[in-house]
């Protein structure tokens, strides 16, 4: 029987981050992954001959630079490139582009409204202020307001001090920002539908909320608090696809002496006498360790892998009611040539950015109403990108791959399971929307992979296909994530920890939950986290 110091259940990006830090701190660590490859939802896979897809996550901006540096990811092959721009196509045959150049951006907005063009600067400043407030909290364990331990108290004081740096009017603004809907928030700055629609996208991506739901302004922040080399809010793309992130992590891990076992699905986590002692694999093999860290979501971990009877009832109750309904789907399309968008000027840089087709907030909200009723959206909100325009190495020259993130897509169809016919009908809404703006689009399609919450759950193991391993509502943030009293990566079982996106600060390819979990584990082991650099300053 194999024995390790620590086992990581699931080789997603957070599991690998925790694994790397623990291994580097001198523990003997093994990552157990059910699939034949690691990466979880951050993978690049050749699903059609000659085409490499980032088939789940598709944007790399949130990943913390501190982690990239600590784990020497550039040395292990990670390179992140910034998006060039983007566009929303409007139904009248025009588009709203976003350009990196400030004046071009302003003049583009001014095509629709001079007022909005200038209001954008104040909007960007106000959002950046909020980002600056939240950013330092990402790499810290959330304090337990009812923990009453010195560490919790000092962290609470830290939070109070951060907040206290605001002027009274900024404090009031912050309280508003955190509780507003992105739609209401944007209404205070802008008058043009397409501009509001373009800016609202980040308020809903990945969430089971519409742009008119309170709390979506915060979700926007969640997507903005990333950075590409210091430029806050910029979105980037990992060369080689999102798999490059997890590949670099696994190389870094193996280089430090760690063990990765693929095709090693964990069936049960042992818990005896309130302690874990290892896991048993689906194959029946037992693997022992004093520490088990679960990268799986909180429901899979505690309702499937751990024997419920060994857990406190309240805890199980809360886990059962943890909300993680899937709300998005993904359609990955291989194309034999670059699609044309006649609305765009010739050789527009927009094609190297994110492309959207939803030009009003109302259309987004109606798409959400469909989801509430248990249907996929008839007029979905797409966040598409043609990564091969930034990274031609992912396929042969001239061929392209289009990543289409689709909102909204329910975990069950009107209460029943997804069928293949449902899946195809869902994909059709996506293809037909793109084809409306790109003549001949269908003829270019070589291969298509459609992923509804069903596929995300089955392959990646995300319960209900929720890409954030838990919805980002107030009751599931900070000290409430995933369960009040258990928001510090520890579980009711001694030696069993959580490191996935179900924990603070939540989803996105950020790595922060993995790093914070490693920090708490090392603290319990009374080892100093020497390999862990301090969080970057926000000055």
């Amino acid at each position: 029987m194999q024995t390790y110091d620590a086992l990581i259940v699931g080789g997603g990006h957070n599991g690998l981050v925790t694994a790397c830090y623990l291994q580097r701190a001198g523990l003997n660590v093994a990552v157990l992954e059910k699939n034949g490859w690691v990466g979880g939802a951050a993978t690049s896979r050749e699903l059609a001959p000659g085409f490499v897809y980032s088939n789940c996550s598709y944007v790399c901006s949130l990943f913390r630079p501190e982690i990239m540096r600590d784990l020497e990811l550039p040395k292990h092959g990670l390179q992140v490139v910034a998006y060039e721009g983007g566009a929303v196509f409007t139904r009248d045959g025009d588009y709203l582009a976003s350009y990196r150049d400030h004046d071009s951006h302003r003049r583009e907005f001014a095509r629709y409204s001079k007022r909005d063009a200038e209001a954008y600067d104040r909007y960007a400043r106000d959002v950046t202020r909020q980002c600056r407030f939240i950013q330092p909290l990402l790499m810290r364990t959330a304090p337990d307001p009812f923990g009453f331990r010195p560490r919790d108290l000092s962290e609470l004081l830290y939070l109070a001090k951060k907040f206290g740096e605001f002027s009274p009017s900024e404090m009031a603004e912050t309280l508003r920002f955190w509780t507003m809907s992105i739609s209401d928030f944007l209404d205070e700055y802008f008058e043009t539908d397409v501009i509001k629609a373009y800016l609202a996208i980040s308020g809903i991506i990945g969430t089971a909320l519409g742009p008119m739901s309170p709390g979506t302004a915060y979700v926007l922040l969640h997507h903005y608090m990333g950075e590409v080399d210091g430029s806050v809010g910029a979105w980037g793309y990992a060369r080689g696809g999102m798999g490059a992130v997890t590949q670099a992590l696994s190389r870094s891990f193996e280089a430090a002496g760690g063990t990765i076992r693929t095709d090693a699905e964990v069936d049960k986590i042992f818990t005896r006498g309130g302690r874990t002692s290892g896991v048993v694999l689906a194959s029946g093999e037992e693997v022992r360790a004093k520490l088990v860290v679960s990268n799986a979501d909180v429901k899979r971990t505690f309702l499937t892998l751990v024997d419920e009877a060994t857990l406190p009832q309240d805890f199980v109750h809360r886990v059962k009611h943890f909300k993680m309904r899937g709300s998005s789907g993904k359609v990955n399309i291989a194309l034999d040539s670059l699609p044309e968008f006649p609305a765009l000027p010739h050789e527009s840089s927009c094609i190297r950015g994110d492309l959207h087709f939803t030009d009003t907030i109302e259309r987004m909200e109606r798409a959400y109403d469909d989801w509430k009723a248990g249907r996929w959206s008839a007029d979905p909100m797409l966040d598409t990108m043609i990564p091969t325009t930034l990274d031609p190495t992912m396929t042969s020259p001239g061929k392209h791959f289009m990543s289409c993130f689709v909102q909204y897509c329910p975990p069950k169809v009107e209460g029943r399971d997804w069928t293949d016919a449902d899946r195809d009908a869902f994909a059709e809404t996506v293809v037909s929307q793109i084809a409306d703006y790109s003549p001949g689009f269908r003829d270019r399609i070589v291969h298509m992979e459609v992923r509804t919450p069903r596929e995300l759950e089955n392959e990646v193991g995300l319960t209900e296909g929720n890409i954030f391993q838990g919805e980002l509502t107030f009751d599931q943030l900070l000290f409430n994530r995933p369960v009040p009293g258990y928001a510090q990566y520890r579980s009711p079982i001694a030696g069993l920890y959580m490191c996935g996106s179900s924990t603070h600060p939540g989803g996105g390819v950020m790595g922060a939950p993995g790093r914070n979990a490693a920090m708490e584990i090392l603290r319990d082991l009374k080892r100093s986290p020497e390999q862990m650099s301090k969080a970057h300053d926000v000055i």
């Binding site: 508003r176 509780t179 008119m212 309170p214 109302e362 909200e365 509502t473 107030f474 009751d475 009293g485």
Partner: protein
């Protein structure tokens, strides 16, 4: 209004304070100020006091007592202080009946369902657990309603002691309850109800009560706040109760009026204020629409904050950012009010005669409320709305001729900004509502003598209420406490020295509680600079 020339003439202050608007908050403020011996003048635009609690004849021989058709949050301290005796002496709690059109009604008795008829024992027990939790949590929040919101940057002893008391209240029940409070505070009502309850009628009721008068659906995050707000109200010392006063809702306005008059307050009706006089940041009086001028060092505006700053005060007296935030107050109403004149008392299916005295809620389920909300987001009314019904003439026989009856319903969702316009939309919406009533009270249609539907646009006109919103601004998380109505005018004082806010648009919000006006007066009397 293009010019706001400030008259150079100085009139002597015949009054210590002028209150604009004789709604119940204006009267509460005037009564409280009057009690201190000061000379107070209340100016009311309408021909009678009472504001939205002002009665009106909506059909020959049939009267409606105003916008509100029951009392559920009159603050006991305000009532005691101002000598308001409104609650019926009988002490009998008014029940709430939930109709879904298919099953027998669920009837909540006592204060917000201390006992429930028509549901299973286990369900009643589950509701009791949830009720206990919500009432406890609402009790913690209640501490913040009776005092001005804390002033950031100048937190005072009072703020700290309120916070400390709230904190103590939280830990008193142990860690688990404290944690649960912080988890639930900004949740949606749907998830909470789903966690505790099975019965669709009860869930529908909670969804309805949480969202009534608010532009949110039960699945919108923060919608639980609406229910907390409802449960901060108490009757006979019990949270969540409701009643119709002895003599009906028509007794509400006179009670506040009497409280004010008792303290020597002068009330002038038919006196529409045209402008608030101010110069370089200090208010000095008002000018009526007819040109009459009154001077006073303190002006208390118990009308909508938007009216106050965009129409009564010269915009040149306010700063741009302030006016911008005032214009950003979301205050589009979502509720229509229906008054029906009926030949006789309707017979509502499945209801005992006695329970016709109750509040009757038509909401089949949480989904029903949520689905009713969807169109409102796009400026359309609900084709299948939810509503709350009261038969006012049962408590007040004077409202209808002998043997006849009135029915009052609050119906949502009926958005202020209706895309098709209310002129065209009203007949269609009325038909929908009457069809629903007919389903629940077969034959009621034939007994209708008159039907008067007030869309939010009508409510706006009738009561000078921008957006027709009875809270004078959305009661949502981002428009509460230090952000109500907006930061620079939270806590009753405004950027204009001597000008105070006392309407539902100020903390803590609407409903017949009297708190906004009473708190404002206390703040003015405290002499605090801000």
């Amino acid at each position: 209004m293009t010019s706001f020339d400030v008259p150079a003439r100085v009139t002597t202050n015949a009054y210590d304070a002028i209150v604009i608007g004789a709604g119940h908050n204006g009267l509460a403020a005037a009564a409280k100020l009057g009690k201190s011996g000061r000379k107070i003048l209340v100016l009311e635009a309408a021909s009678a006091p009472g504001g939205a609690a002002r009665g009106r004849e909506f059909a020959p021989g049939f009267r409606s007592a105003g916008l509100a058709h029951l009392v559920n949050r009159l603050d006991p301290e305000v009532a005691r202080d101002l000598g308001l005796t409104l609650a019926p002496k009988s002490g009998a709690a008014m029940p709430t009946v939930v109709l879904d059109g298919a099953n027998e009604p669920a009837v909540l008795r006592g204060a917000y369902g201390e006992t429930i008829d028509g549901v299973s024992v286990s369900e009643a027990e589950a509701f009791g657990k949830l009720r206990e939790k919500l009432v406890y949590q609402a009790g913690i929040l209640k501490r913040f309603l009776r005092r001005p919101p804390p002033q950031l940057g100048a937190i005072g002893i009072g703020d700290i002691s309120t916070l400390a008391a709230a904190g103590f209240g939280l830990i008193r029940k142990g860690r688990a309850e404290g944690r649960d409070f912080l988890r639930m505070l900004l949740m949606n009502v749907a998830d909470v109800a789903d966690e505790y309850l099975e019965d669709d009628r009860l869930k529908g009721l909670l969804a309805f009560d949480a969202t009534l008068g608010i532009h949110l659906g039960p699945r919108s995050p923060t919608s639980l706040l609406g229910l907390y707000y409802r449960l901060t109200g108490e009757v006979y010392g019990k949270a969540g109760g409701q009643f119709i006063p002895e003599g009906g809702m028509a007794a509400v306005a006179p009670a506040f009026l009497k409280a004010a008059e008792k303290t020597g307050v002068t009330i002038r009706c038919g006196a529409r204020v045209g402008r608030i006089l101010a110069d370089r940041g200090r208010a000095s009086g008002v000018v009526l629409a007819d040109g009459a001028e009154f001077a006073a060092p303190v002006i208390v505006s118990a009308v909508h904050p938007r009216t106050t700053f965009l129409h009564l005060l010269d915009p040149a007296e306010s700063d741009t950012g302030f006016l911008r935030s005032i214009s950003h107050i979301r205050t589009a109403g979502n509720v229509a009010k229906l008054d029906l004149a009926l030949e006789r008392m309707p017979n509502i299916s499945g209801l005992t005669g006695r329970d016709h005295n109750g509040r009757i809620v038509i909401a089949r389920s949480m989904e029903h409320v949520e689905t009713a909300f969807n169109p409102a987001k796009y400026g359309e009314f609900s084709p299948d709305p939810v509503m709350e019904i009261v038969l006012p003439s049962l408590a007040d026989r004077t409202l209808a001729p002998d043997g006849a009856c009135t029915l009052s319903a609050l119906i949502q969702y009926a958005p202020y900004k209706l895309k098709m316009g209310w002129a065209a939309g009203k007949p269609a919406f009325l038909r929908i509502v009457l069809d629903i009533l007919e389903r629940h009270a077969p034959g009621i249609g034939k007994t209708i003598i008159a039907a008067d539907l007030s869309a939010p646009t009508d409510i706006e006109t009738e009561y000078d209420l921008p957006g027709g919103h009875w809270h004078h601004g959305e009661l949502q998380a981002d428009q509460l406490l230090i952000n109500r109505p907006t930061r620079a005018a939270s806590g009753y004082a405004t950027p204009i020295d001597g000008l105070y806010l006392a309407s539902a648009g100020a903390h803590p919000g609407g409903g017949i509680s009297g708190l906004a006006g009473w708190n404002a007066a206390r703040h003015i009397l405290s002499g605090a600079k801000r």
